[in-house]
Symmetry: C2
Subunit: 405 residues, 2 copies
């Protein structure tokens, strides 16, 4: 069921940038005061062609998006939510009554800190989204069909950056007539997109809310991301990225996703959630090299479920997009962060094993160096990096106030 105030493109029309602007005008008329009921319809934004910041052309680009709340007549109440590495645009609400809620549903909705009675909250799937085969995800990447050959792009797909993610989002927003964002907020890789928005388009971003992310990929993150990519490249089925007419490298993909899950957590979580139980009480790990412990089984099961909807090449492209990130994509981090003018609220975890707290703090210092207001708030919890996703509600009051300032 779709709320009548939701943005709707029933036949998924092909939106060029120009067509998008027309849709924006149509939205203006559809807008109303009715409350958002939490049911979400995934929609698709299309572009005839997109030219990457690296100068490569991607024809017939499409990304999924969804929105919560209503765009006001001035079109100045939009908040963009940018998603994390393994995430999608499903930040809040449900696709069906009994379905799973979006990852930040605790803070997005009627009366919640990101109040859908007040704001129009929009999120889109990134280019090269990990979950290329998920039913509610639309993305363009190596697994997409090349329009000229009708075959998957594979590694012929251009390397894309966080800047490209942002520029596609910008086209999406312009298609709805949105020229300025009340705020941009994202976690982890979403934080990178948020920094990039505020650095590249400072006159379009009124407030910046980066969560569990720093202004560049530091060396630790470069190495961590490389470790995530490694098992895929080891898998013979990966075949140099050319596997779309054969067996996909699922073993490697599962192990990559297992590492993502482990690194995004923290030993506090592992040790409070699990004990030394065996996965199978008949199979003693001290007797059988193939026997596992319960925590291994759980991580394997999570990874196997995620791998079914994911694409291995997309993971490699996401790794690279994160690795290449430096806010503003210019000569220096200092310049990229100095370009940010929006008042900034940063949330982070002292136990983050992906984005070093040290780098997050340096980011805050550099943003604030020229007088831009910056507030840096630690998140409590036992999940490390993931506290920025699963424990975001603790920052609800501050988020609500920051958005009203």
């Amino acid at each position: 069921m779709q709320d009548s105030t939701q943005l709707s493109t029933p036949e998924r029309p092909h939106h060029s940038l120009a067509a998008g602007l027309c849709l924006g005008a149509a939205l203006l008329m559809a807008g109303g005061a009715q409350a958002w009921d939490g049911l979400v319809e995934k929609q698709v934004f299309e572009m005839d062609a997109y030219t990457t910041r690296g100068g490569e052309t991607i024809a017939d680009l499409a990304v999924g998006w969804e929105a919560y709340g209503t765009l006001n007549e001035a079109r100045n109440n939009a908040i963009l939510i940018t998603h994390f590495f393994s995430g999608t645009s499903h930040a809040a609400g449900r696709y069906e009554e009994e379905g799973p809620a979006g990852y930040w549903d605790s803070i997005i909705g009627p009366g919640k800190p990101l109040d859908t009675d007040e704001y129009y909250i929009i999120a889109s799937d990134t280019l090269v989204n990990l979950n290329a085969h998920a039913p509610n995800v639309t993305t363009t990447g190596p697994a997409s069909l090349h329009p000229e050959t009708g075959e998957p792009w594979g590694l012929d797909f251009p390397v894309v950056t966080i800047g490209d993610f942002v520029d596609v989002q910008k086209a999406l927003l312009e298609s709805q007539g949105i020229e300025r964002l009340h705020a941009v907020m994202g976690a982890s890789m979403g934080a990178l997109q948020a920094y990039e928005w505020a650095s590249t388009y400072p006159d379009r971003v009124e407030r910046l809310i980066p969560v569990i992310g720093a202004g560049e990929a530091d060396p630790w993150l470069l190495a961590t991301l490389a470790a995530w990519a490694a098992p895929i490249r080891v898998d013979a089925n990966w075949n140099g990225g050319d596997y779309y007419d054969g067996e996909p490298p699922l073993d490697g993909l599962r192990e990559a996703l297992k590492l993502v899950t482990l690194n995004a957590n923290h030993w506090q979580w592992a040790n409070e959630t699990f004990d030394r139980s065996w996965a199978d009480e008949q199979a003693d790990p001290a007797r059988d090299l193939d026997a596992r412990y319960a925590i291994e089984q759980t991580l394997d099961d999570i990874a196997a479920a995620r791998a079914e909807q994911a694409d291995a090449n997309h993971l490699l492209y996401l790794v690279r997009a994160n690795q290449t990130f430096m806010a503003g994509h210019g000569e220096s981090l200092e310049a990229g962060l100095a370009a940010i003018e929006a008042p900034t609220l940063m949330l982070y975890s002292e136990d983050d094993l992906v984005f070093a707290p040290q780098s997050v703090k340096r980011t805050a210092e550099l943003i604030g160096a020229d007088g831009t207001p910056v507030e840096l708030i630690p998140l409590a919890g036992t999940r490390g990096h993931l506290d920025g996703v699963v424990a975001i509600d603790q920052a609800g009051d501050r988020l609500r106030a920051f958005l009203a300032e």
Copy 2:
């Protein structure tokens, strides 16, 4: 050159346990007051047969060992050093004048905290040692030839535990007439062996010095170790462990070793040692999916060098030996640690990403619960877990005093 006071078995004779005792008597005569000059000869201890704690028999077992200093007439000045996951018995000194020093050379030697003028310091390669193909390592494991078939054991080799490592060391020490240890000290997996010594043989251990290790493998460590094993199992060349007459799974082994290096370090190290430089200034990672950053190249190079001397199945067996560890290998950690009677000096890092500081602290509490003296000292540094190896010298004064108490 070998110091004449060193233990020497020129023709690597076959030492049964009984023969070992005879050798011990011979040593007594060879002992002298001459200073140890830092040159080390790797030696080999052999057993006709060893029965694992799991009840399996390993015939023709051999492990390498080396020693620094002189065993006194009372044979009560021995300190056993137990090595870490990727380590060997090369704890101190050099095999040749210009060769690399052992990993704890900063604290072991004449006049150093572990003073070879006073103590007889001995270290042995573990069973299933990772570096099965290193010139100065002797070990028995899946890569060893099964005495009956003349073929490598492969996965027919029994799963062995830290307890087995200890029991082989016990046989080695008994072969030299050593019934009690002045101290046992080890880092990481070496700490596990040290706990096991003190728990299983409390009347043989006078002082316990576990460094960067806890009394059991906690769930976080179980999962971390599983992640190290994963790339090997993904590598098609692994072939279920049966690769000794074909291509070994070097890709998987390298990626496993890369993870070991990364996890044993800390973001402080990565971010103070590296920047965002490319590995090849002609190959821009934003243009080429195969291009790498300098930190990736360095980690890859380290892993490649280590993989040349390592065996993939040995790594899997080491993972399992660490996973199964609980001091005393009994019903409970509490009982295993209560069995420890030796005064204990524990060194650890608050930034350890392998052994959770929380688990180290709990270990100290449980050892001390019945009144056993325990001291827990944090190590400073930027290497996380590895500070227990590379920054051990900061604990030198305390180690010297503890050994004299």
